[in-house]
């Protein structure tokens, strides 16, 4: 029963994804396609945080660090290699390696939630201030100048192993959307695999999982590394949709934004964070255009309200609401049936929730 509903949900998500993948370039104009590509790349970032926070129980406040590292690594590698094919792979590997190294210190030091959150946030902020100061010509990797707060111009993606054939914005959108769908179903598979189940059990109860013989440090590190790799992929797509990567990816605002997507969408689901990112992307760009109240004020308010009032996030709350209504309808129906059969026999039975 539960399983079939999960499968149905997955199938419908896949269908909607395919519709957007093929439909959007036909119906939207160029500017909208580019901004949708940006939104999709942010959704991949949200997915990575949703995976490690919702399923690994790892409270990472600095997921944008790996996002930014992926974007920078891609830009630097693509400039140096003169092509994007191996740069993409390298960028994902660099982001994963960064996550693995940081994760080693945190998980093998057995830092608790709060410490972990603060350390990851601090890493992001320090990256921000360090990269901002690299504007001098002496700061370069290969031929790529880091460019300080001006950032790096990112060479666009090209056809695999053909550096002269750049992709058009529509084609970049296809790549980004396919990446999102691929990453989503990878995450779904991961959470249903043995590895994912162990991670979920660690989230639920660390001590019990450890007593069952699992090395929780290793599992957390694995989860964190996968999250870092997906965030790196998101960074590559983001750099391509914007065409420029600046240190602002590491700032406090973006770090908060990633958390807010997951909170709004819902921890413990994978589609929730994606929807959260997409909705908030359009909402913030809409609200950013009005000049009455600064956008931070609005975001802060949303975060506080969700923590206090809807701590589960929208998607799990909706599912819960749906279930409750359905079960109420079912009990009402069965109560009616029983009443028809004869009241006397079931007099004492109550069907209240």
């Amino acid at each position: 029963m539960k399983r079939s509903r999960d499968t149905n949900a997955l199938i419908s998500i896949g269908i909607v994804g395919l519709i957007i993948l093929f439909g959007a370039p036909q119906t939207l104009d160029l500017f909208e396609i580019i901004s949708l590509t940006t939104a999709v790349s942010l959704a991949i970032l949200a997915l990575s945080l949703g995976l490690i926070w919702g399923f690994g129980g790892i409270l990472c406040f600095g997921q944008t660090a790996f996002f930014g590292i992926g974007a920078y690594a891609y830009a630097i590698a693509a400039l140096n290699f003169g092509g994007s094919t191996s740069a993409i792979v390298l960028a994902i590997l660099v982001a994963a390696a960064a996550a693995a190294i940081l994760g080693y210190f945190m998980f093998y030091g057995r830092l608790s939630d709060v410490y972990l959150a603060v350390i990851t946030l601090t890493v992001t902020l320090i990256l921000y201030s360090v990269i901002r100061r690299t504007s001098g010509p002496e700061y370069k990797i290969g031929i790529a100048k880091l460019g300080g707060f001006n950032g790096i111009n990112v060479p666009p993606i090209n056809y695999p192993w053909d550096a002269n054939q750049f992709l058009f914005p529509e084609q970049v959108f296809y790549v980004a959307m396919v990446s999102l769908l691929g990453a989503y179903f990878l995450c779904v598979w991961l959470t249903k695999s043995h590895f994912g189940r162990v991670c979920i059990s660690i989230r639920e109860n660390e001590i019990r999982s450890e007593l069952l013989g699992y090395d929780i440090r290793l599992y957390k590190l694995g989860m964190f590394t996968v999250g870092g790799a997906i965030a790196g992929l998101a960074g590559v797509m983001f750099a391509n949709s914007i065409g420029r990567i600046t240190p602002d990816v590491y700032n406090l605002y973006n770090a908060a934004l990633a958390i807010i997507w997951v909170i709004i969408g819902g921890r413990g689901t994978l589609i929730g964070p994606i929807l959260g990112a997409l909705v908030l992307f359009y909402l913030t760009s809409f609200l950013g255009r009005q000049a009455v109240v600064n956008i931070n004020f609005f975001l802060g308010l949303v975060l506080i309200i969700f923590v206090l009032v809807v701590p589960k996030g929208i998607v799990p709350s909706l599912v819960q609401l749906w279930d409750r209504r359905r079960s109420r309808r079912m009990t009402a129906r069965s109560a009616k049936r029983i009443r028809r059969r004869g009241r006397s026999r079931f007099k004492e039975a109550t069907f209240e929730e």
Binding site: V114, A117, I119, T122, L125, V293
Partner: protein, 289 residues
């Protein structure tokens, strides 16, 4: 020799700076095990209090030493009353809610004052000279303020009734409550005092750094790692972590440059936490304040 003295002064100032920006956070974290992510914005609000009040004719000393802690302390009390008290025992939610608060303050101040630097005020001391080097007199003043502040907090915790109650609550909240102490009151006092200390620090640093709505982000990274590396003992933790991190930061900054100094500070903190996950005071000076 002069170079050495000037360098030593710089390093000591770096340490004092860390103490100033993190002591408010340390008080709240040590007492309540709550990391206040809006800490940077409390510093920022302290800075704005000083700027606004000096611009409207208040004496700068009154603004920095009295108004800034008072205003921010009050804001802290209100925040505790409206938000934090609903989240005791839910550490992750507290983190998230205070982060929301941080964004809220940034947005509010940007809406009121604009995103640019507000009119800055000049430090009320001239330069002092050490042989052929000169140093800012205001930095020397801040070093003294940091020392006095640590002493004050020590005296408050060690020798007053309030301090006794606070330490009791910190060690065993249940027991304190059983003995008839309202831990709720203690927590809200603590949050107020921590906020006031942050406001004071923000006000004192405003003449050096200027104020921006987003200036909190500059402070919080350093403040967080100082407090976390220090551990839960308020004073011993802050002091030992500030000395260690500030010292390393100062030396590396002198040899390579300020950017690398910050990186070194962070790397040291991460390695430190790998070795001592409970912070310095989780292993050493365990029974200290």
């Amino acid at each position: 020799m002069d170079l050495f003295a000037a360098l030593a002064l710089q390093i000591i100032y770096g340490i004092a700076n860390l103490v100033l920006i993190s002591i408010g956070l340390a008080v709240i974290f040590g007492m309540m095990r709550v990391i206040n992510l809006a800490h940077g914005e409390f510093l920022m609000l302290g800075g704005y209090t000083v700027i606004v009040s000096t611009n409207s004719g208040v004496n700068i000393w009154v603004a920095m030493l009295i108004l800034a802690p008072l205003v921010v302390g009050l804001i802290g009390l209100i925040v505790e009353w409206v938000l934090i008290r609903f989240l005791y025992g839910r550490m992750v939610d507290t983190l998230l809610a205070t982060w929301g608060l941080s964004l809220l303050f940034i947005g509010l101040i940007t809406t009121i004052f604009g995103a640019q630097t507000a009119t800055t005020i000049s430090p009320p001391f001239g330069a002092i000279s050490i042989g052929e080097f000169s140093s800012s007199g205001y930095e020397v003043f801040l070093i003294f303020v940091a020392i006095i502040l640590v002493l004050l907090v020590y005296l408050l915790l060690r020798y007053t009734k309030l301090g006794l109650v606070a330490r009791g609550t910190m060690q065993a909240a249940d027991m304190a409550a059983a003995l008839g102490i309202s831990t709720q009151r203690v927590y809200s006092m603590t949050f107020g005092i921590g906020s006031a200390l942050s406001g004071l620090a923000g006000g004192l640093l405003a003449p050096i750094t200027g104020v921006l709505p987003t200036i909190g982000a500059i402070y919080i990274g350093k403040a967080f790692i100082t407090v976390i590396s220090g551990g839960t003992a308020i004073l011993a933790g802050t002091a030992s972590a500030s000395i260690l991190l500030g010292g390393v930061n100062g030396i590396v900054s002198f040899i390579i440059g300020p950017t690398m100094g910050e990186v070194a500070l962070l790397l040291l903190a991460i390695v430190l936490l790998r070795l001592m996950p409970q912070g310095i005071t989780g292993r050493f000076f365990k029974r200290s304040l």
